[in-house]
Each structure stands twice: as C-alpha cells, then as structure tokens.
Symmetry: C2
Subunit: 135 residues, 2 copies
Amino acid sequence: MLSKKTKYGIKALTFIARQEKGTMVQIATISESENISHKFLESILLTLRKSGILGAKKGKGGGYYLLKPSHEIKMTDVIRTLEGPIAMVPCVSLNYYEKCDDCPDEDACSVHKLMIQVRDNTLQVLRNNTLADLV
Amino acid sequence: MLSKKTKYGIKALTFIARQEKGTMVQIATISESENISHKFLESILLTLRKSGILGAKKGKGGGYYLLKPSHEIKMTDVIRTLEGPIAMVPCVSLNYYEKCDDCPDEDACSVHKLMIQVRDNTLQVLRNNTLADLV
DNA sequence: CTTAAAACCTAGTATTCCGATAGGGTAAAG
DNA sequence: CTTTACCCTATCGGAATACTAGGTTTTAAG
C-alpha cells in the first residue's frame, strides 16, 4: 500500500508543476485545492525540500517551487524520498539492501527470485515517468 | 513492503511444491527447514487451505499438499490470498476497488495515472510466474 | 480402545507504523 | 515591527503485524 504521505506528495508536486515555471506555491493553496490537511502537507513538503526536489522561500509571498524542470524529476526519486525502498523485500533493494536473517541462500530463495522481477518492472515504470508525464 | 506472512507463505508453498506429487508435508517439517515460527506458519497454511490452494489431512501421517499441479498455481492468487490487493492504491485495484474520498476526478489524478502503470506491470509479472517457476 | 500425532480454531498481546495534530520557532517581506 | 509563511519537535490514538497460548478434533497405529 502506498502511504498517504507519498500520495499527497505526488499530488502536491504535480500541482506545483502545473503552475508557470518559477511560481511560488503556498502550502495553503495546495492544501485547499487538493483536500490535504495543512499541517500534514507541511511536513511532506519539508521532506521534499530536504531531499532537493523542492526549493522554498520564506516570508510574505513565499512558497515552494521546483528546483528542476518537471521533465527532469523522476518518479523513482520522489517515491524513494517519501515512501522509502521501492523493492518489496529488503534483500532485493538496490538502495536499502539488507540480508534476510531467515534465508541462508538468497539465490535459492523463491521469494527473492520473484521479487527481483517485480522490482525491475516497477523500477522501469517509475524511471520512465517524470513529473511532466503526470501533469 | 511484503509482509512476513506472504513471504513465509511463498516459501512454504515452494517447499511443498519441491516434494514428490501428492506427498503430505507437515508444518513442523517446513517450520524447521525454512526457519519459520511453527505457530505463525500454522495460521498461514490455514489461510492457504481455506482459499483453495492447499489441501490438508488431519491426524497421524497427515499434512498439507497442493490441490493443483504447481504450474497451475499463479502467484497472483497466492499474493492476493496472503497480502490482499496487488494495487498500491485502492482506486486502481481490480479486485478491491474503492474510490478515494479526497479525489474528485480519477482520470485527472496523477497518482492514479502512475499507479495504473505500476499495477499493470506487477500483474504481468505475477501472472507469468507460477509456483513451478519458483522451484 | 487407547494414545500419540497432526491439523484446526479462538483469542490475546506486544510492538510497530501511520496519519494526523499541537504548538511553537525562525526568517523575510512590506 | 508586524504579518506571513516556512521550519522543527513532540505526541498520540488507532490500526495492522507478527506472533503466542491453549485447547479441540481427526486419524493412524499399537
């Protein structure tokens, strides 16, 4: 299951991407338009800023904006930032690899074999989709 | 993330599939061989039996066995039984569809658009893999 | 017929995670 | 120097996960 955090994050990003380039978008604007709790959204956008996807400007007239053109923002990065690993099992994760403690031989493991395929297919989809593709 | 329930379930099924056709396999055998808690595994195999993937025989010399040849057991069925919906969002689920209450227009939703693709790719992988492919 | 072995079933529990909320702190326009 | 809007930490209830406990029923074997 996709967490609401990720879901809201993607919605917020596409909302920002739909504006004219360089426009400042405020939390309140997104929150109202997309039906997302203001405070919750705040923490999500903060995460996206820290990961280098969004920039922010404080003070009156401030807000959030994309740091890169939307066609350069890959969904893999967005998902990894908000949701964490894309793989469904740590032992097939590229960025968050962890050995299973119950499994002596990874190459002989049926779950491993299956989940590698799922991961590869999912990765392909997410890599081929940028923010621009979703707008 | 794949739950341990599903992970253990797949491991147990492949263990059974590796035996000669029609062999009774006991919980304890699988539990020891695959490092899975006996009691937890018990509840998992029960679920698989109730869903019609496994058969069981009680009493001495009893155990679990596959109801169909392993190449007819699709991973979609196994995952749906143990993990639930394959889709990452209810609004793109084929078997467990549910409308998002925050989203007025599904066709305009970026999350929807993306997750449809992920679902289709995952489904393809899981449909093309049977138990026999994992053994 | 008895007993042991095995699945079956119900219930409970400890822990973890999620979604959200609270409440202020800090910086920059105007 | 006040308002606006982002920044940060902490907390909390509810749901889901991953087991655990203990008893019941069925079957085969002695």
